[in-house]
Amino acid sequence: MKKLVLIGNGMAGIRTIEEIIKREPEQYEITIFGSEPYPNYNRILLSLVLQGDSKVDDIVLNDYDWYKNYGIVLHSGDEVTKVDTENQLVYSSEGKEVPYDKLIFATGSNPFMLPIDGADKEGVIAFRDIKDCETMISTSKSYKKAAVIGGGLLGLEAARGLLNLDMEVDVIHIQDYLMERQLDEPAADMLKKELEDQGMNFLMGKETVKIRGKNRVSSLLFKDGSSIKADLIVMAIGIKPNIALAKEAGLEVERAIVVDDYMQTSAPNVYAVGECVQHRGMVYGLVAPLYEQGKVLAEHITSQTPEQTAGYEGTLLYTQLKVSGVDVFSAGEFVDKEDTKAIRVHDEFEGIYKKVVVRDNKVIGSVLFGDTSDSPRLLDMMKSEQDISEMNKVSILPSEQERGTGESPVVAMAESETICGCNGVCKGDITDAVKTKELSSVQEVTQVTNAGRSCGGCKPLVSDLLEHTLGEEFNKADQKQPMCGCTDHTHEEVQAEIKEKHLTLVREVMNVLEWENKEGCSSCRPAINYYINMVHPLEAEDDANSRFINERVHANIQNDGTFSVVPRMYGGVTNPDELRKIANVADKYNVKMVKVTGGQRLDLLGVNKEDLPGMWEELGMPSGHAYGKAVRTVKTCVGQDFCRFGTQDSIQMGIDIEKKFQGVQTPHKVKMGVSACPRNCAESMIKDIGIVGLQGAWEMYVGGNGGIDLRQGELLCTVETDQEVLDMISAYMQYYRESARYLERTSHWIERLGLEHVKAVVVDDKKRQAELIERMETTLSTFNEPWEQIIQDGKIKQDYYEVKVTS
C-alpha cells in the first residue's frame, strides 16, 4: 500500500481524507500529524464551547474511533518540524520520521496579531482554537472586562462567547461599521443594534496603538488619545496562512502555498489544501471552497487516470453565517456603483434587510440580513448569470411572497440549487438521500450528505426540505428531542431502557443513563418516576421526592400556598348525606370557598396542609384525584332515567367507568364524559375519552380537549355493550400510557401518532388489544385509595403534612 501523510489535523485536511476514503478505502496507508491535542473538530462552532454547557466533545467532527476504524495513524499534539522533499520524509517534534509517497499540507492559518507595543503581554490572545477558548474560560473566572479588537465575523463570535462567559465586552473596530467586507451600512447597523441588545458595547472608528499593563494587560490606548480598561484582549483582525514549514521545505510560496488546479505544489507528490493554499491568486478563509479543493484533490490522487479528472477552478466567494444567532448572507459585489441598480427590502419590524445588486440585468451581488432563505436562489442566478429583465421581484426574492403563505422557500427551489453552502450540497442530493436511504431526521441527513455539518446555518432549510419530501410521514416532534437539559436521551429511549434493564428506581435510571445533571430536575424526575410505575407496576418503588407537591400530598396547591380538596363523586352523582358531611367539614375547617367544578363535583378551597388528613377522615369519601396526572372525572348527563331524549343509561355507564379507572396514573390528566345521545350534554366531544349513546350502541370519541388547544374528539369505534366500552377504554388508555411522552395530553399524542394508527393497534389488532387490556388490569390491581392510606399511615402524616411549631 502507498503511504499518504497529512500535515494538519484540521477541517480541510480531514475532509480531504474523508473524500479519499469514500472513493478508495484501501489505496493508502494514512498517517496524520496535528499540532493540536484533539481529533478533528468543528472550528466554526468554537464559540459554542464558550457557552459553558457545551464541551469539546460536542464539536468533534471525527472522534478517535473514526481514525481507528479506517486504520489511520494519528499523531495528535505532535507537530511536523521538517519536510525533506528529496527523500520524501517528514520529521516531527517528537522525533518521528515518516516516509511518504504522497504528502498533503493542510496547515491552515495563524491568527494575525497586531504588532503594537504591549501585544506580548499576558492576557492578549487570539480566537482560533480550543486552547484560546480555555484561556477565555479561565480568565472569565477571575476577571470581568474583556476587549475584542476587530469587528469582523471572528471578533463578533469572540465577543458573543465572552458575553456567554459573563464578561463585559467592548468591541473595538477601526471602520465606522461592522463586517464591512460582508455587509453594507444598513445591514451592519441592524447587526450592531441587535448585538447591542445582546449586551455588547461598540467603539467604532478607533485604532488601537498601545496595550498597557505590568505583566498582565490593564488597558488599551487609542490613536485619538482615549483609552479603556481591559483584563483580557482578544485580537480578531484577521488570519495569515501558516506557510513557514512549506517555505522551509522549499515549496513555492507567495501569500500562501502556490498550487495548480489539482492542488499540486511546486514539489512532486506534495499537495496542499485549505487556508494555507493560494490558487489562481486567491486565498480562501471559509470552508466551502476548501471542501471543494479537498474533493478535487481526492479525486485526483485516487484516480487511475489523474490527468483526466476535473481540476479546481476557484469558487464564487460568498458568506453564509450566523452571527450571534442572526442569519447573514453576502455574496459578490454588494456595494452600489454608478452602473448598478438594486432591489431592496427593509423591514425594521421583522429585522429583515435584503439587497440584490443588478448590473446589465444580471444579479452580481447580494446582502441578506435576518432572513437568508433566498440565498440559494440568488447564488444560482449569480452563477448562471441569468437574465432577470423578465422577472418580477417576487421571483427573485421568493420568500417575500412566501412569508405571507407560510410555505418554505425550499419548495420552490430547483433540484440543483445549493442548500448547504459550506459543504456544497444541493436540494437534489438531499431529496435523493432521503428517499433512497429512508432518512427521517435532520441528524441522519447530515450524517449521510454532510449538509449542516459545518456552520449549521442551513439546518432549518434541511428540516423544511425533509418535511416537504417525507410529506405525511414527517413529524417535527419525532426529531430527537432530549427529555430536558439534564440528558441527551429522549423520552422513548428512557422508557426503553427502563424496560430493558429492568430499572425500578429514579436514581438508578439517572445513573445508568449517565444523566449529565446527576440529580435531575423538576422536569425529568417526575417523568422517570411515571415511566417506572407504568412499566413495572408491581415492582416500582414510587419516589415521593420526584412528584410534584400536588401528587405528593394528594391535594392541589393554590397561589397562596393553601390547598384544595375535591372528594370523588362517581359520575357526578351525590346525595344529601354526602352533602351534609361536606358542609360540616367546610364549616369546621373554615374552608374559604365551596365551588362546583367543571367535572361535576365540589371543590373545597383554601385548606391548610396540616388539616388535609383530618378533613379526609371526617369526609370519609375517596380522593377525586383532581390534582393528579391521572384519570380524573367522568362527567355524565342524566340520560334515559330522566331525559326525554336519552337512549342509554349514561349515569350508570359513567359510574362504572369511574369506579374502574379512578386514579390510574397517566402521562397527563385524563377527563371523560358520557352522554346518552348526540346532544352531548356531558360535553363528550371535548373530553380525552367521550362516550356517546345511540339506540343500542355506544360511540367512543377520543383526543378531545377543552383546554388551551381546543380540539374536537374523533370517533374511534362504535360498540354495543357496556362491557365493550370498558374494554375499549382499557386498551386505548393503556396504549396512551405506554406510548405518550410524559405530560403529553391525549389530543397531542393522537395528532402525533395519527388516529388511523391508534385504531389499528387498539381496535383492529385483537391480539394487541387483549395484551393492552391485560396490562391495564395489572395496573388496576395495584390501586390504593390514597386518602385512606394516608389517614392510616402515621409516618406519612408526620413526614408530609405536619408543620413544626416551636417558640
Partner: protein, 105 residues
Amino acid sequence: MEKTARKVDAGPVEDFTVKIGKEVLIGDLKLAVFRLAEDEFHTIKNECPHKKGPLTEGMISGEHVFCPLHNWKIDITDGQVEEPDEGCVQTFKTEIIDNNVYITV
C-alpha cells in the same frame, strides 16, 4: 424589638425526612428546613422571592429546590435564585447538637 440572635431547638433529626422539606414555625417566622443527607441540614425562609410560594413543598434536586408555584430554582445552601430568575432567600444557620436540630434566628 428583639434583635439578638438565638438558637432555637427544632426537634430531633428523625423528625426530618431526607429530601422532603419541612416547615418550622418560630413565632411568626415561617422557615423551610431541608435535610439533604443524613447529617446535612439547611434552613431558608419558607417564601419564594417570586410570589411567596412555600418552598417546603418544592421538589428537591441536589442542593436546589424548585418552587412549587412557578418552578423557580433556588439554591438551598445559600438562598440564591438560579438564573434567569433573580433574587435570594434569607438563610439561617442550622446545626445538629446531640441529635437535635438547632436553627439560629
